[in-house]
Symmetry: C2
Subunit: 283 residues, 2 copies
């Protein structure tokens, strides 16, 4: 496994693989790799000949009061995990390589798709993500890129960016990796106290409960969602959102229709830790 940090080096590594006729699957990460990331890497290996992983905590996607400084960083363990998974090249740029020292004149604007869900709660979050992923796509030019379904709004927004910007890249969503008790794996789970960790699977259980009711025929889940939010608060969560959104443009939906696809998604805090989870509903 190669580890490179400069743009010239990653381009030359990728060019070398492509010149051998190899297809490239790309897994962008912010490091702090857990079993969820490893499942993305395994899916990448199934989809292409060679896997390129990037490890870069992108400052532009963090708000001023978010956890950029405390975001877990563990480069050595991450590199070891990539090597164990058979990754070909790991790209580990720093801020100067990604953004340079001077003024940034260009930004990418997202209309509507980031109004609700995490976009509504985290201003600038998805603009920061598309900025860095657009750069990474142009630097690496992979055939395929893998993202987790856990960040479903990210996946939908990036899919749309690929379409509108004409990136020649196929995006693939990997299923949510979960702990035995159902908690969606996340680098931020490391922040949870033992007590919070015990409560944490409640978010997924709330989603599962609502899913069951919808599959059993509830087509206006508003009250049901309100009730589940109350239950989560009673358990110690502080709710951000728990709602059903349209799959295409991620707008809140009041009445569900058969034949449509929805995102049943929630975000809630335990202490200072923000958890998110979702279930895709093909009705």
């Amino acid at each position: 496994m190669k580890q490179v940090s400069s743009i010239a080096d990653i381009r030359s590594e990728v060019a070398e693989l492509k010149s051998q006729g190899k297809t490239i699957a790309f897994v962008p990460t912010m490091g702090a790799l857990h079993a969820g990331h490893l499942s993305l890497i395994r899916l990448a290996k199934e989809k292409a000949d060679e896997v390129v992983v990037s490890i870069y905590v992108n400052p532009v996607q963090f708000g001023p009061n978010e956890d950029f400084d405390s975001y877990p960083r563990q480069m050595e363990e991450d590199l070891r995990a990539c090597k164990d998974e058979g990754v070909s090249v790991v790209f580990t740029p720093d801020d100067n390589i990604m953004y340079g020292a001077g003024k940034r004149y260009f930004s990418i604007n997202i209309d509507e798709l980031n109004e609700h869900m995490d976009g509504g709660s985290r201003p600038g979050f998805f603009e920061g993500i598309v900025l860095v992923v657009n750069k990474l796509f142009n630097i690496i030019e992979p055939d395929i890129a893998i993202f987790g379904q856990k960040d479903i709004q990210q996946f939908q927004i990036l899919s749309r960016m690929v379409e509108e910007f004409n990136h020649d890249i196929e995006l693939v969503a990997a299923p949510i990796a979960r702990a035995n008790d159902g908690l969606a794996l996340s680098s931020r789970n490391a922040y949870l106290s033992d007590e919070e960790r015990k409560i944490a699977p409640g978010l997924y259980r709330a989603l599962q409960y609502v899913e069951k009711q919808i599959r059993d025929g509830v087509d206006e889940p508003g009250l049901l969602l309100k009730h589940q939010q109350d239950e989560l608060e009673a358990k110690g969560f502080k709710n951000d959102y728990l709602n059903v959104f349209s799959m295409d443009d991620m707008q809140p939906v009041i009445k569900l229709k058969p034949g449509s696809t929805y995102i049943l998604a929630g975000a809630a805090y335990l202490g200072k830790t923000r958890l998110i989870d979702n279930i895709i509903l093909d009705l």
Copy 2:
């Protein structure tokens, strides 16, 4: 010479050339090709093995009161000219291929670089250009792209976009092609009446006069520029701007310093026709 309109077809033509080890120079145009465009194509042929030209009048870069509908269109003549110049592939997409039928969620924002010059006079102009050129770059993935120095602000903004978006493309500016009387060649010159055409070289002559004064030692050209604007108005022009701008961020400059590079640029209307021209000053 091949002519293709779909994204799949242009990608496959370019992939075929690249698989033969050929380098690709790309010349994006809005058609209505004149000797200026042909000089870009010739420069492209010097710089790379194969030349790809796009012909597409991009609606997104025209303001609501601008000349999108009347912009000259002459596909047959343009294709013949490309063939005569030895172009390998011409890409002629339509609006549906470039933008699709649905809502556009993504836009690209430019800070500061488009505040003055044409950006100041034409709101949304450069955002429309970077939107389409970013797409064309991702569709064609050339090694080199050629733009005219006549649109110097466009060249500077696109150069910065290439840097910030990490396109792996070298941008090259081609010198301004001029008629014998000095008028910068432009597709919009076709709008000029015979009378206006006679007056039109006055814009370049004003720039040349100011350049000479600056080279002779004037380092605060404000009054000089004002006087030349008055002269242009007296000749029948309606001025938009005539000023000296910094090369890097295209801000107006009051006092010139030796060792710096500036853009001496002007825009003025003759009737409804907007003319632009510029001289790069390496002091």
